[in-house]
Amino acid sequence: MKRLLSLVGTLVLSAGLAGTALADLTVAVPNGSEGDGLRAAAVDYSKLKGVKIEIVQAPYSNLFERAATAASTRSGVFDIVLMDDPWIPFFAENGFLVELGPFFKGIGTDGPDNDFLSKSVALCRNPYNTGPYICLPYVGNAQLFFYDPEQYASVGFPDGPRTWDDVLTASTELTGDGSSRKYGYTMRAAEGNPVVADFMPIFWSFGATLFDADRKVSLQTPEALQAVKMFLALAKVAPPGVESFGADEVGTAIAQGSAYSAINWPNWVATFEDPAQSRVVGKIANVKMPDGTSAGSSEIGHWTMGISIDSKNKQEAFDFMVWATSAEQVKISALRGNPPVRFSVFTDTELTSQEQYRHYPTLMQAINFSTPRPRHPQWPEIENAFGRELSAAVAGRISAEEALDRSQKAIEAIIAR
């Protein structure tokens, strides 16, 4: 036994303790299908071009911190960062991203080609839609409204809900007294990103905005109050404990057939249509956001690639980004589970004829009518502060008015820093 133990020890240790690989490009990506997709693409690119690419994969919440620390310390450790679009203002306005204009000129163009959706490209300019290009869109997400048409028809909405009032009326009827443990509506109301992501489409649909034209916080308005009240009313017909729900709990409730409608990301379509994961195969419809007092609008949530200002391999990084966002590669990425950013892929009949891509027309429409999260360099902090108060309101600890009042003060304090 002693021999066996020493043999195992020697073998394991001799396999090498150190292991920093020297790469031509280092790319920071999140865990999940977006990061997995880009990692697979990097392997293909390495085989094709002989460029060694190291992929650093981190949990969503950790990736921003890592990328921000690397940028702030000017370490240049990451050549490319796959950024969630609300992070763009932080990196761009702090001068951490390379402007891509000169690189586009190098390949004979002024910017991304016209096949990209205009809303996707608008995100990659700073200021939004008007400034220079500082990234390229890779994964095209926008929230969808998922619902069970059969259940909605059973309570008088055969064409589905058109407004948030419809959603509330139908959900109140479907939930009843809650004894059946089937709920008309479910929501993400966990603190931070989840609750804010779920709330913003309702917020916008009532004509509210987080910042006014002068970039001042504008939460104490009748529109914002109406939106919060609608959100809290929906929480009352949702399953108990939604104040701790994230995307996983909401998606699971729909897939198990215990909730009949919710806002969620399109990545869940594949789960809803998989018999091993869902009791509602073929039963869940997805539509654009319902209206409030204004037209409904989805929150856009793209993953975009930007080059670090301290990268020592900027041209190689740009070449890889252009290759990875080409129509051919975006289609491959779509096959790996990532919604596209190009018109030609959204309308590719080879994809749209398949069940798991049947939501592409709706998703493209949702992206085209989407709204970006407020473009502010301190958005991650703002989102946390706003999310804390919204979640507390859903849990019943504070009123709608208090939630808005506290959020207003907290966000003002963040901006004043």
Binding site: M1, L13, A21, G32, Q277
Partner: protein, 301 residues
């Protein structure tokens, strides 16, 4: 007034007092109470492992079924294929093994020698400065307070994102525990043993290696398994120090299955259950030493 009654002489045949009567019902209740406590303790410790095992073979649909599915109805290997074929969990497991074994060996080598020195030698300030207490006190601070200095240090020596950095960090944090455990074991062993060896011509190091180490084997086994488990399961340092598959350990890989949109419970269960297996195997290998090692010398300060 004093008592003048003469003392009664002790009668050797007199009854000793009231003897507790044997009550079979009470004994039976006592026995069942003991069984109930043991049963609860077993359920409390084993049920999560059973649930992990069960979920690792279930589809997502069955995992969230209401009412819950308590037995393996239609087992699937899908989660294991996803985890170990589609994703680099074998690599993470290998990294964890290298780091845990490396840490255990280093911590035992240095900790055993330090423990021996603290148990045997007189050194300046031994009583006054409580050196051994201060060694242990490094375990009393929350590990997170050392994260930034360690990160900067490893960045400075270019060891970020390496298994070596993890081994160094874990060895540092495990050493106080190993030193204290081994110090207790060595204090249990009579000095005369190594002195006899030295009288017979052995060096102090020779006596330590050839006489004391074999005798302290139970302690080494118990300490090794604790160090191995701590290093195998460590998350915080690995999250900060490692970045890529080259050095990511299992806890990081498992946490990575919680994504922004979805939590892959099946893969987490499969990886979690598989990650228990190496530790269980090691525990079986050293278990004959373990019980004695835990009780032997552990109470000495």
């Amino acid at each position: 007034m004093t008592d003048t009654t003469p003392a009664t002489p002790l009668d050797p045949l007199a009854p000793l007092g009231k003897i507790k009567e044997f009550n079979p019902t009470r004994q039976r209740i006592k026995k069942w109470l003991v069984f109930a406590v043991i049963g609860f303790a077993l359920f409390y410790t084993l049920f999560p492992v059973y649930w992990l095992f069960l979920n690792s073979f279930k589809t997502r649909l069955d995992m969230f079924a209401t009412p819950a599915i308590w037995l393996l109805d239609a087992p699937t290997l899908y989660n294991y294929v996803q985890t170990f074929v589609e994703r680099p969990f074998l690599r993470f497991m290998f990294n964890s093994l290298v780091v845990a074994v490396g840490t255990t060996i280093l911590a035992l080598v240095f900790g055993t020698m330090a423990g021996f020195a603290l148990a045997r030698f007189d050194y300046p300030g031994r009583a006054k400065y409580h050196v051994s207490f201060w060694i242990l006190s490094t375990r009393m601070m929350p590990p997170i307070v050392t994260i930034i200095p360690l990160f900067l240090f490893f960045a400075f020596v270019n060891l970020l994102n390496t298994k070596t950095a993890l081994v160094i960090a874990y060895t540092g944090f495990n050493l106080p525990f190993v030193i204290w455990m081994m110090k207790g074991y060595f204090q249990e062993l009579p000095r005369e043993l190594e002195e006899s060896a030295m009288v017979d011509g052995d060096t102090r190091l020779g006596a330590f290696i050839r006489v004391l180490i074999p005798l302290a084997r139970p302690g080494l086994a118990a300490t090794a398994i604790f160090t191995l488990i701590l290093s195998w399961n460590e998350f915080l340092f690995a999250l900060i120090i490692t970045e890529t598959q080259t050095s990511n350990t299992l806890p990081i890989g498992i946490a990575g299955r919680i994504t922004q949109y979805k939590t892959e419970w099946g893969e987490i269960s499969a990886a979690g259950f598989a990650s228990c297996i190496p530790i269980i195997i090691f525990a079986f290998i050293v278990q004959k030493h373990l019980v004695r090692g835990l009780s032997f010398g552990a109470v000495k300060g």
